[in-house]
Amino acid sequence: MTLDPTVRPDVTTQDTVRLRAEGVRLGYGDRLVVDGLDLDVVEGTVTAVIGPNGCGKSTLLRALGRLLRPRGGQVLLDGRRIDSVPTKEVAKVLGLLPQSPSAPEGLTVADLVARGRHPHQAWYRQWSADDEAAVLQAMEWTGIADLADRPVDELSGGQRQRAWISMALAQGTDLLLLDEPTTFLDLAHQVEVLELVARLNVEFGRTVVMVLHDLNLAARYAERLVTMKDGRIVAQGAPAEVMTEEMLADVFGLAARVIPDPVAGTPLVVPIGSRVT
C-alpha cells in the first residue's frame, strides 16, 4: 500500500506521461482548494479520482483540462506547459466532459455531438466527411444514434449524459477527462458508460482520467485510483492497494469492510452502518 503520495513504485521510466501536474495550487476567489499537488497521468491508463465531496477532485480535473489556471506550479501536456499550447491544438488531443453541462433549448442530439468537432473545423469547413464519420461513430458508441434528431432538453437524464459523452468522443482525442460521467444514470447505464470507457481504453488506447463517486465501480473500471482529501492526494495506485478499510475510514470517515468483488476480484466496499439485523 502506498499511502505516501510521493512514492510511485508503479511508474517506471518506460511509461509515457501524457499529463502531469507539478506542484499546482488551485482555487477560486479567496479560497485555495488545492495547495501543491503532483500527479502523473500515464499513457494508456484509466485513472479514477475519488474522494469526499469538496476535496478538490473536480478542481484538479479542471486544471488538468486547462479550464482553471493554476496559481502556482504547472500542468504539462506531453511535456509542454498546457497554457503555452494554443487552446485549439490542446482540444485536438484532450477532450473533456465538464460537470453538469448545459445545452440550449431545442438543440438536437446530432447538433450537440457535432459541436465536438469544433477543434477540427473552420468557418468554411463546418461539416467535412471526417466530421460526419466521427459523429456517427460517437453516437453509435454511446447508443444514441436513434435519438439523433431529438432535442437534448427532451431526453431523460441518462440519455442526455450519453449525448454529452458522445460529444466528447466526437472530438476524437486520445486523452479524455470526464467529470462524473455517471451522474444522473441508473446503475445499468453507469455500467454501460464505464464499459464504453474500458473499451475505448483497451481497443483504442485512449487515456482516461475521470472523477467518480461510486467507489466500487471506480475500483472495477480504473487501473489507477487517486484518492484525494482536503486538496491533497493521500493515496494512489492500483485499486487493490488503495481501497482499504483504513483508507475508507481515514479519507471518507466511513466504517466499511472491503471484500473481493465476486465477479472481477477487485475490492468491493461494504459499508457497515448501524442498521444491521
Binding site: A91, E105, H118, E132
Partner: protein
C-alpha cells in the same frame, strides 16, 4: 482536385452535407426556404414603401425602375428621392438584428439585446449630445450630422458596452447578470438623454426628439452610405467569427474544452455587435426592439437553437421596412417608425421577462 458538389443522403439526421472542394457546410433546406421567403417579403415591402408618396407608383413600376427601366421622371422619384429612405430602413434593421443575434447568442439569453441592455442607449446619448452641443457651434452642425453623428454614436455605444461588460464581469460573464446591469445602465443613459433635451435649445430638442423616436423621415443617400459601409465590413466579420457561436453557446467550460479562446472570441463578437447597432442608431435613431424581436422570430422560423445571423439580417430589414410602411399609412398621420417597432416589440419583451421570471423561480 475535382470541384464536385456532392449531396449524399444525410447519414446524420438533420445534417445533410454540402461539400465543394475544401468548403463544407450543413445543408438545411428550411433555412434556405425561410431566407428566400424573407427576401421576397423584404423586396415587396421596399417596393410598396417606395411607391408611396404624392405621386403613387405601383409595385411593378418600382421594381422595373429599380432594375434599370422606367422613364427619367420616375427614376428620379424612385432612386433619387424615395429609395434612400427605405434602403436606410432596411440596412438599419439588418444591422440592429445582426447585432441582436450576436449578443443574444453569446450571452445565451434573448433579453441580452443591444436595445434592452443599453448599447443603443449609449449610442443615442452620445448622438443627442452631438445634436444638442454641435448645433451650438453653428456651422459645425452639418458636418456633425454626417460624420460626427455616426462617430459619436459608435463611441457612445462602445463606452456603454465597455461599462456594462466591466460591471457585469465577475470571473467571466454570466448572462442574467449582464442583462440586469445592462437594463440599469440603459435606464441611466435614457435619463442622460432626457437631461440633454431639457438643457437644449427648443429647436435642437425638437430635432433630437424626432431622432430619438427612430425616424426614417428625410433620409438621403448620405444616411445610406455609413450603414452600408459598416454592414459591408462588419457582416463578413460577424459571419466568420460566428463559427464559434455554436460551441460558445454551451457553457464556458464546454467551449474552452472545444478549444475556443472564450474571452477573446466573446470580446470580438461583442465589438462587432456594438459597431453594427451604433452605426444603425446614428442613421435612424434607436429603433426600438428590432434587435430584440427580429432574431427571435428568425430563430423560431428556422427552428434553430440560437438566432441565425444571416436570417436575422433579412428579417430585421423586412421588419423595419414593413414597420415604416405601417407608420406612414396606417394611422392617418405619419408616425416615426420607431413608435411602430416599439408597439410590436414591447409586448414581446414583457412576455420574455415573464417567462424568464417563471423559469428562474422554477
Amino acid at each position: 482536385m475535382a470541384l464536385a458538389v456532392s449531396l449524399p443522403p444525410a447519414r446524420v439526421p438533420g445534417r445533410r452535407a454540402l461539400r465543394i472542394g475544401p468548403v463544407s457546410l450543413v445543408w438545411r433546406p428550411r433555412v434556405a426556404l425561410v431566407g428566400l421567403a424573407g427576401v421576397a417579403v423584404l423586396v415587396l415591402g421596399l417596393a410598396l414603401n417606395v411607391g408611396i408618396g404624392e405621386v403613387r407608383i405601383s409595385v411593378p413600376d418600382v421594381l422595373i425602375t429599380l432594375l434599370g427601366g422606367g422613364d427619367p421622371g420616375q427614376r428620379f422619384i424612385v432612386v433619387g428621392l424615395r429609395l434612400p429612405r427605405s434602403l436606410t430602413g432596411a440596412l438599419v434593421g439588418a444591422a440592429l438584428a445582426g447585432a441582436g443575434a450576436i449578443t443574444q447568442a453569446i450571452v445565451r439569453n434573448p433579453l441580452a439585446s443591444p436595445d434592452v441592455i443599453g448599447f443603443t442607449a449609449g449610442a443615442s446619448a452620445a448622438a443627442v449630445f452631438v445634436i444638442v452641443l454641435g448645433a451650438g457651434f453653428g456651422s459645425v452642425g452639418f458636418t456633425a450630422s454626417v460624420v460626427g453623428l455616426p462617430l459619436a454614436a459608435l463611441i457612445g455605444g462602445l463606452l456603454s458596452a465597455f461599462a456594462i461588460y466591466a460591471l457585469a464581469w465577475r470571473k467571466g460573464v454570466q448572462g442574467f447578470r449582464l442583462v440586469l446591469v445592462g437594463i440599469g445602465i440603459n435606464a441611466m443613459l435614457i435619463a442622460v438623454v432626457e437631461w440633454l433635451l431639457v438643457i437644449a435649445q427648443v429647436t435642437d430638442a425638437a430635432r433630437a426628439y424626432t431622432w430619438i423616436n427612430g425616424s426614417l423621415n428625410g433620409r438621403g443617400w448620405e444616411h445610406v452610405v455609413p450603414v452600408a459601409v459598416a454592414l459591408a465590413v462588419l457582416v463578413p466579420a460577424a459571419l466568420v467569427l460566428a463559427h464559434v457561436l455554436g460551441a460558445l453557446q454551451l457553457s464556458d467550460d464546454s467551449a474552452r474544452g472545444l478549444g475556443i479562446p472564450v474571452d477573446k472570441a466573446r470580446t470580438l463578437l461583442l465589438l462587432t455587435a456594438v459597431g453594427l447597432c451604433s452605426v444603425a442608431t446614428a442613421s435612424a435613431g434607436p429603433l426600438a426592439f428590432v434587435a430584440l424581436v427580429a432574431p427571435q422570430i428568425a430563430q423560431r422560423a428556422v427552428g434553430a437553437a440560437r438566432p441565425p445571423i444571416t436570417i436575422s439580417l433579412i428579417f430585421g430589414a423586412a421588419l423595419t421596412v414593413i414597420a415604416d410602411l405601417l407608420a406612414r399609412t396606417a394611422f392617418g398621420a405619419e408616425l416615426p417608425v420607431g413608435i411602430v417597432t416599439a408597439v410590436i416589440g414591447a409586448p414581446y419583451l414583457l412576455y420574455l421577462i415573464a417567462r424568464q421570471g417563471r423559469r428562474t423561480r422554477a
